[in-house]
């Protein structure tokens, strides 16, 4: 019965494609020259906070294709594919794939929509451009870098929009709730590696190397695989996520939300532990003037990994916040971002110190040559204290700096 319904749906969609669907391809090509003054990148399992290794690097840092298929019925498909050729870990694959239904608002301005597939929960106020990129900076905040690295899932998201314009109101409200799977190891890298500042989103097929935490080598973490699979499903339980988004008068956007992956930490398979990760987040975007915008986000939560018998092994609290101000003057855009972040280790597992505290400052300048072409220069300064770096014979207290020059072509 299910198969018949599915084949009917597919036939219906395919016949719709040939009749009246509309295809749209958009994307981004982002090539960069970078220099890092610090240590080698976390992308290869090191403790470096940036995406690129120490020294100079020339890269195709991302090539993004977004395929959008819009049917005449109120259903659309969206697939985002990304390729990285950065010489650190070259990769190509799918980042997002969703099917969306969006109804017409009713006479009170209420509108229902539903989205299913591989998606990001609605958290970031930075990453709103093609392929979940940021129009403001080359690197994302530590907060949103983590969302891009470990907080994606397959799920069903239901949204109710309340459009104010039909009541002569300047307030728009959007309430979303999701159930999801494929999120069981979320929190692994945030614990063992800490916050990073990246522009690399984890692709659906990718596995990410775990840093050399001492307890992994004969200690309490010896059963952990060398790589974590951020989107694996092990406990077959649904996680939950909900958020409220409020917009006022084209000026203010405010979001608060809560995330709970509702994981069963007693499950352990093929070197992958299940982590129970719960966090709350809030974000604000405010237009100070028509050309100056302030964006700020805050995220706080905790994560727990236990033995198969339920004994806590890793128990961490984490927090990250940033304040970004961006100003546009004709073809020029200037952006400043300040950040503070921490991980607090609450367990007593030996040789696994996850404590971290850090601050970061980002200066970014972008010049728009044409509608599509941007030249972007950025400086990142990141100072952090992380005792775990001694496991790799690196300094506990470390200041890392990154310089990048990028040519970005949005199409």
């Amino acid at each position: 019965m299910k198969k018949r319904a599915l084949s009917l749906l597919i036939t219906c969609l395919v016949s719709n494609v040939s009749n009246s669907a509309e295809h749209k391809l958009t994307g981004l090509i982002d090539s960069r020259v970078s220099q890092v003054d610090g240590i080698n990148s976390h992308v290869n399992g090191n403790y470096g906070k940036f995406r690129f290794d120490e020294g100079d690097n020339i890269s195709l840092s991302q090539a993004i294709v977004n395929y959008h298929l819009d049917f005449d019925i109120p259903i659309s498909l969206n697939v985002v594919a990304i390729a990285y050729a950065d010489g650190i870990d070259d990769s190509i694959g799918i980042s997002e794939a969703t099917i969306k239904y969006q109804a017409i608002p009713n006479s009170s301005g209420l509108r229902f929509s539903a989205r299913a597939g591989i998606m990001y929960p609605k958290i970031s106020l930075e990453n709103n451009a093609t392929g979940w990129t940021s129009p403001y900076t080359l690197t994302y905040s530590t907060l949103n870098s983590w969302i891009g690295e470990e907080v994606k899932h397959t799920g069903l998201e239901l949204t109710l929009d309340i459009l104010g314009k039909f009541r002569q109101s300047k307030h728009d409200v959007s309430i979303s709730a999701s159930v999801y799977k494929n999120n069981d190891t979320t929190g692994t890298l945030l614990s063992w590696r800490g916050w990073t500042q990246s522009s690399r989103q984890t692709l659906w097929h990718e596995r990410l190397p775990v840093p050399p935490v001492k307890a992994r080598f004969g200690g309490m973490l010896k059963h952990q695989a060398a790589e974590t699979d951020p989107f694996i499903e092990l406990d077959h339980r649904y996680g939950f996520e909900a958020n409220v988004f409020w917009q006022w008068n084209n000026k203010l956007k405010l979001r608060v939300g809560h995330y709970d992956n509702n994981a069963d930490t007693k499950v352990f398979k093929n070197g992958q532990y299940v982590w129970e990760t719960i966090f709350s987040h809030s974000g604000l975007s405010y237009k100070l003037t028509p050309s100056t915008t302030l964006i700020s986000q805050f995220l706080t939560g905790d994560t727990l990994m236990t033995s198969p018998w339920g004994m806590p092994v890793v128990e961490n609290d984490f927090q990250s916040a940033f304040l970004l101000i961006t100003h546009k003057n004709k073809s020029h855009r200037y952006t400043v971002r300040m950040e503070e972040f921490s991980v607090t280790d609450n367990d007593t597992t030996p040789d696994d110190d996850n404590n971290e505290y850090g601050k970061s400052a980002t200066l970014s300048y972008q010049y728009r040559f044409s509608r599509h072409l941007f030249l972007h220069a950025e400086y990142n300064w990141l100072d952090s204290t992380r005792p775990a770096r001694t496991y790799a014979n690196q300094d506990i207290q470390l200041t890392e700096q990154q310089y990048q020059l990028a040519a970005k072509y949005y199409w």
Binding site: E22, T26, L28, N66, D70, D72, P74, Q102, I104, P105, N106, S107, G109, R111, Y120, K122, S124, L125, N127, N128, A129, T130, G131, W132, P135, D161, L163, K165, F166, Q168, D172, F245, Q247, N250, K253, S291, T293, K328, R371, Y410
Partner: protein
């Protein structure tokens, strides 16, 4: 005798049809532009006669454009006899809808396309939006009289060929107060402009402005 008859004829004609100017001002006396103004006979049974005498005036199309991701004009007024054309001048698709329960419609209009098969049976107001670009807002007023218009930048609207049968003037704008939208104003035909002053302030018309400041935004928020 012929002179006298000519005089009588010209006299009757000049009473029968007059160009009449109306000026709408806000509470402070400044011109109120973009306001729909329409006239209905005080004796509404005369509506049919009005239409009967209008047969020689060709019905004009009402064009509602989608341009720069905005409804243009923001407010359109037309009679139920006139055809309505939706004209997408943008290089992207719009998904236009009405939220009116009795006159609900929605359709996708691709770049450069027009749609002209939507009509309305009776007097009504329609609030419209685009289901892809939520900031877009447009309104349509359908009247059952041939005498309607939108005030220009000076707050003025002119009706020519107005028969002297006694009219009530009505105003409409989505941002007018209920008091002003519900008002029925009686007037006598004179050669002087007739002044209508709003009773309550008009709130700001929506800017229909995309809140994002970047061209390549994909709706992640």
């Amino acid at each position: 005798m012929i002179k006298f008859l000519t005089f009588i004829f010209v006299y009757i004609l000049s009473i029968g049809v007059m160009a009449t100017e109306f000026k709408v001002t806000d509470v402070l006396g400044a011109p109120a532009s973009g306001i729909a103004v329409y006239l209905i006979p005080q004796d509404e049974s005369k509506l049919n006669d009005l239409w009967a005498n209008q047969t020689n005036t060709a019905s004009t199309k009402t064009i509602i454009s989608q341009e720069n991701k905005k409804f243009s004009p923001y407010l359109s007024v037309t009679s139920k006899q006139n055809p309505i054309v939706f004209d997408n001048k943008d290089d992207i698709t719009h998904h236009i809808y009405s939220i009116d329960k009795e006159n609900s419609f929605d359709f996708k209009l691709r770049s450069g396309e027009q749609k002209s098969d939507i009509s309305f049976a009776k007097k009504t107001t329609i609030a419209m939006g685009c289901n892809i670009h939520d900031w877009m807002a447009g309104h349509l007023l359908i009247v059952d009289t041939p005498f309607y218009g939108i005030t220009n930048i000076d707050g003025k609207v002119v009706f020519s060929d107005l028969p002297d049968i006694g009219f009530k003037l009505k105003l409409f704008h989505p941002q007018l107060s209920e008091v002003d939208n519900d008002r029925e104003i009686t007037f006598t035909l004179t050669t002087k402009p007739f002044l209508v002053k709003l009773i309550e302030p008009i709130t700001a018309t929506p800017l229909q402005q995309d809140t994002s400041e970047f061209d390549f935004v994909e709706g992640y928020e």
